[in-house]
Structures are given as C-alpha cells and as structure tokens.
C-alpha cells in the first residue's frame, strides 16, 4: 500500500530477521503514540546527540561502549511506611526478552540523590535486594557514583553491573530479582529526611512516583547475536519450559 507500507507482515516472516528487529520495539497499532517528555527522554536525547550526528551517523569518538542502550522505566512502585527519618520506596523494573537476550556490557541506575518535597529535603541512595530494614549508616555522598557528562546536576549514576549479573545467574538464596517473575529487577530507594522534621508521609507517598529513577542497560547487540539469540531461545524454550537465562553470554 503506497505511502503506508505494512512491514509488520514481513516481521512475522522468519526470513526477515532485520525487519523483525526493527519492529520489535514498535508499539501496537492500537496503542497511542507514546508521550515524548520527561527527564528520561531528555537524558536519552543528550546521549543520542553525543553518540550520533543529526543524520544518525555514529560519532567516531562516542564513548558509550555498546551498540544499544536501553532506558528502562520502573513498571511498579510502592512506598513503605516511615521508619524514623527514613523513607523507603521500592521500584520494579521489568525486562523484556529483547533487552535481556544479548550481551550486557554495563548496567547503571540513574536516580535523584537530592529530592525536594515541598519544604522538605531528602538525601537518597539506591540499594538492590530484599533488605528488611534500612541501613543505619547513610553511604558517603558520591561514594561509588559517577557522573557522566550527559547527566544534569540533580541526577546520580550508580553502576550495578555486578549486582545484575548476580541476579541473572544466582537462582539460589536472596537475590534482588523478584522471584515471582524472573524478569523483574527490584531496587530500593532509601531516602533520609535531612531537616529533622517528621510526619510528612503523605506528601512523600503521593509526590514521588516513577520518576525517582530509571535503569540503563548497555548492551552489545549485532545482527549475528540476534540470530544466535533467536536460535538459542528456541532451544531453551523447548528444553526448559520457557525459563531461559536472561543473558546468554557474559562479556569479559
């Protein structure tokens, strides 16, 4: 149909893997056009501009070190009751098979380290895992954090590559993967109320939502890896009742 090619038909044909890959992130026809706004989009636009020119040619001096960067927003969040000056919010990040089936180079969480709710000021950090109670000692400011050039002052980045790998491969004991769904990563955002006053639980639970942080997955994905992943997942699907490992190969 001229002007409106329906390449989705081609994507269903196994002999067109490239078209399938191009369309794997496409929203369904029934879905509305996603809203383009928010700090997540700003972050990725800056990342794009620093990695490619306006025509889409990758810059030779790009530093992302991967062929794909996936920004994953939390799919669910829950605020837990106040524990003294501590406020805790749990965010779940749902992985799609497309994001998980290739070589993970790096995983980071981008979050707000300083949060202002009304007149109240909170200092926040991220802890992966099913921690039962907050730590007594707040980590030193900036410890273990880096600040890439594309980050604005209010956002902080923490590398969680090792934790993600442990989560992928450690099926025993407590990992920070939600065991009810093998492809959900759970992170705790612990925020300490700085100005000593208490009793603002309601503003805290209502004001802060999914924009507290997001995940960045740096993945090397090539056409060959797509083919390998497809054939591997087919094998795993047949042999392990669909419970396939999320990452097929670890990058040295």
């Amino acid at each position: 149909k001229v002007g409106q090619p329906d390449v989705a038909i081609l994507a269903e044909d196994p002999s067109w893997p490239l078209v399938r890959e191009l369309l794997e992130e496409a929203p369904g026809k029934q879905q509305r056009k996603p809203q383009l706004q928010g700090p997540q989009l700003q972050y990725m636009l800056k990342l794009y501009q620093s990695s490619a020119d306006s025509l889409g040619n990758p810059r030779e001096n790009r530093t992302i070190g991967a062929t794909m960067v996936a920004l994953v927003r939390p799919s669910a969040n829950a605020a837990e009751p106040l524990r003294g000056p501590w406020h805790l919010r749990t965010l779940d990040f749902r992985f799609t098979g497309n994001q998980a089936a290739h070589r993970l180079v790096r995983a980071t969480v981008i979050y707000l380290q300083q949060v202002y709710v009304g007149h109240f000021h909170f200092s926040c950090h991220v802890e992966p895992g099913f921690r039962k109670s907050p730590t007594n000692h707040f980590p030193p400011s900036g410890g273990g954090c880096s600040r890439p050039s594309v980050l604005s002052e209010s956002w902080t980045e923490r590398d969680i590559t090792e934790e993600v790998w442990q989560g992928f491969w450690n099926h025993m004991g407590q990992s920070f993967w939600n065991h009810t769904g093998p492809r959900v990563l759970r992170l705790h955002f612990l925020c300490h109320q700085e100005n000593g006053s208490r009793g603002i639980e309601q503003p805290w639970t209502e004001t802060l939502s999914l924009d507290l942080g997001f995940l960045l997955l740096y993945i090397n994905k090539t056409y060959k890896s797509v083919q390998n992943a497809q054939s591997s997942s087919r094998i795993l699907d047949e042999s392990e009742e669909g419970e396939c490992p999320l990452l097929l190969e670890r990058t040295p």
């Binding site: 369904g28 996603p34 989009l41 040619n57 920004l71 994953v72 927003r73």
Partner: protein, 125 residues
Amino acid sequence: RESSVTSQLPGSSRERNGRGNDLCSLHRFQVSFRQLGWDRWIIAPRHYTPNYCKGVCPRVLLYGLNSPNHAIIRSLVNEFVDQSVPWPSCVPYKFVPLSVLLIGPNGNILYKEYEDMIVHSCTCR
C-alpha cells in the same frame, strides 16, 4: 585489439563504455521515517539516508571500484567466451551503521546502532 572486439559485440560493450553519468556510482537517497510509517516510535533521526548504487559497470573495471578478481575474469569471459555469463553488477561495497533513538511501550527508550544501514561506496562485482 580491444576496439576491434568491441565493435564486433552487439551493443553491450558500447553501452558499458558510454557516458560518464551512467557509470556505476553512489547515489544519494533519503527517506523519512514518516514515509515508512515508523515515526510513531523512532524519535531520531527524522530522516534515513540509505543511498543506493546505480549505473553501468565499465568495461575496464577501475581500481577505485574495488572489484574482486572474480569480477574481472567474469567480464573477460563475457566479452570473449560466453555472453550468457552476466556482466558484473553495480552493487554496494561498504556500509556504515545508523544510530536510532526509539521509544517503546511503557515509556522505555532505546538507543540502537544498526549495522550496514547506509551505503558508503559502490563496486562492480
């Protein structure tokens, strides 16, 4: 000797040697993602410049065309042995990747580099 052979061959060699505009070369071509119907989830870039190769492969396969030995021999076979063996074709030689910014379901955003998406140079082979 070449000229005498050329004159004996019907048409094709003369066409191959023909006007400079017809020689195998890289042609710039741009399409918008809107035209492809993909602008609903591709944020950047707005346009895609795949380019294409078009033109007649010359009788003497020039060094700059990066033709493999096979193409050179095949052209000789076409000229002197069997015209049913096809003359080398003008096809893409080198490609460069394309970086795309996509927005997916649930507000997730992806930066992706797709390999071999843009023709950078052409060859006869």
